[in-house]
Amino acid sequence: MEITMENPKKKGVVLDSIVDTSLKKTPKIETKNIKVWYEEFNAIKGISMSIKPNTVTAFIGPSGCGKSTFLRLFNRMNDYVDGFSLEGKIKINGQNIYKKNVNVEELRKEVGMVFQKPNPFPKSIFDNVAYGLKIQGIKDKQLINDRVISSLKQVGLWEEVKDDLKKSGLALSGGQQQRLCIARTLAVEPSIILMDEPTSALDPISTAKIEELIFQLKQKYTIVIVTHNMQQASRISDYTAFFYLGELIEFNKTKNIFTNPEKKQTENYITGRFG
């Protein structure tokens, strides 16, 4: 099902290639010498990396090393943080997303995000998933309906909730809530999904379901996931990036990182000797 999602109300310059469906299949993220400050504090100290389309990339590293900060650059969620400043270039689909005339709302439809703590809206299950479409000004009930159903099916929640779509999203279990949040993100059809420790608040069974889901989503999406769980990183990711004190220490195929790391620090971290 291919539905074009032109927002009639969009303003400013759109990331042309992002809306362009031919390029939509090959999105990738490229950063060049990125530095981030919070006031005087240098949180990211010059990171360059490039992320391939339709892969899962895991960000690992000890607490406070800058994984979340770096991840949130890709959908510009740091923009509202007091004292935040950035140097360097980030390109998504070849377009610099921090250029002046970029429409941040359009960017975020292309780059979805799932948070650490499940955060459904205090609305019905249906309205949670439909929200992203409604704010785009989409009125077509049939389209919204279809998209809600297909999103819920993709995350494997449909069978569990199909009889009470009117129930509050907050009435679901933690694991169901997190899958609802993923469905909500899928409904706007992004091509990149950012996940910041999406399973750290969940039980093992819910975690397994979400890992399975990530594995399937890889077919259609490019996924970047922050995790503290080494097994998780090695199970689900194709590439792994190890961060330490604001620097990218090592970035390679997950297999290589976990079996044959080049740097001593990486080896110490993944074997649990520090961090």
Binding site: M77, G132, V188
Partner: protein, 284 residues
């Protein structure tokens, strides 16, 4: 006595002190309401509500004052509600960290503590004289709006602050603009709190006397206002007027009017509590 015992003892003392204070407050309130009820309840009937004021106590009614209060309440709501809520949203969501907002914040908190008669003087100068509105319902409503604006703004901000950041993050991450996030997430989630604040502020306005006297509200009006530019009286002023008469009949009238005024404030506060509970349930 060891530490745990000491703490427990302190706990007990504090508990009894709390109960004592609560009881004192309740007893005084009950005595006051009981006294008023005994004095005034027999006087309340339909005639009392629909009669115009008169020189004879037994023919007097509160109709014009009641209508004046309703006019004032309605206009004050129309003015203070949108302005106060908009200002609260602006300060909380748009101007959070600029210097001007800091200055405004301090001033608004201070304004909430300014004696109401000062607002009356301001209203007299600005609305009655400079804007030439006269001692009208509109001038009175504008004055009361100024008086309750700080309360409306502060309670709007408190209600908005209670909306978790995670909800706003989720909305932004789905591509919502700031305004869409305010409209679709923040306002629905904080609506109960905002409404509660507004209603409580209005129930304060309905009892205000001093600023309206300064603005020039009349103690005796034989007619009901027909437009915002008409002169008016309000319940508290009518009560004040009756209480200062020597005849026992008027004292009885005053007690009856107090019962009705109290009834109005209780009902308004009841509505506020209702909204708060309803919203809490919905958004939990």
């Amino acid at each position: 006595m060891n530490n745990i015992q000491k703490n427990r003892w302190k706990d007990q003392v504090f508990k009894f002190w709390g109960i004592f204070c609560t009881v004192i407050g309740l007893v005084l309130l009950t005595i006051f309401i009981g006294d008023i009820l005994i004095d005034g309840i027999r006087r309340i009937d339909w005639d009392f509500i629909t009669d115009l004021p008169s020189r004879k106590a037994e023919n007097s009614g509160i109709y014009t004052a009641l209508m004046g209060s309703i006019w004032i309440l309605a206009l004050t709501t129309i003015i203070a509600f949108p302005v106060g809520v908009a200002a609260g949203i602006y300060l909380e969501e748009y101007a959070k960290n600029n210097k001007l907002a800091g200055l405004l914040e301090i001033n608004i908190s201070n304004l909430a503590g300014v004696p109401s008669i000062i607002y009356g003087l301001l209203g007299l100068e600005v609305f009655v004289r400079i804007m030439n509105l006269g001692a009208s319902v509109l001038a009175g409503s504008l004055t009361l709006s100024l008086l309750i604006l700080p309360i409306v703004i502060v309670s709007t901000r408190e209600a908005i602050k209670a909306v978790p950041q995670s909800i706003k993050d989720a909305s932004f991450a789905l591509g919502a603009s700031k305004w869409q996030t305010i409209w679709h997430q923040i306002l629905p989630a904080s609506g109960g709190g905002i409404l509660t604040g507004v209603i409580l502020a209005l129930s304060r306005a309905v009892g205000e006397t001093a600023p309206l006297i300064v603005v020039g509200a009349l103690a005796y009006v034989p007619f009901v206002p027909q437009s915002p530019m008409d002169e008016f009286s309000v319940m508290p002023i009518q009560i004040f007027n009756w209480i200062s008469r020597p005849q026992a009949g008027f004292i009885e009238n005053a007690a009856a009017a107090i019962i009705i005024l109290l009834g109005i404030t209780f009902i308004m506060n009841g509505i506020a509590v209702y909204f708060r509970n309803k919203w809490q349930k919905k958004w939990k």
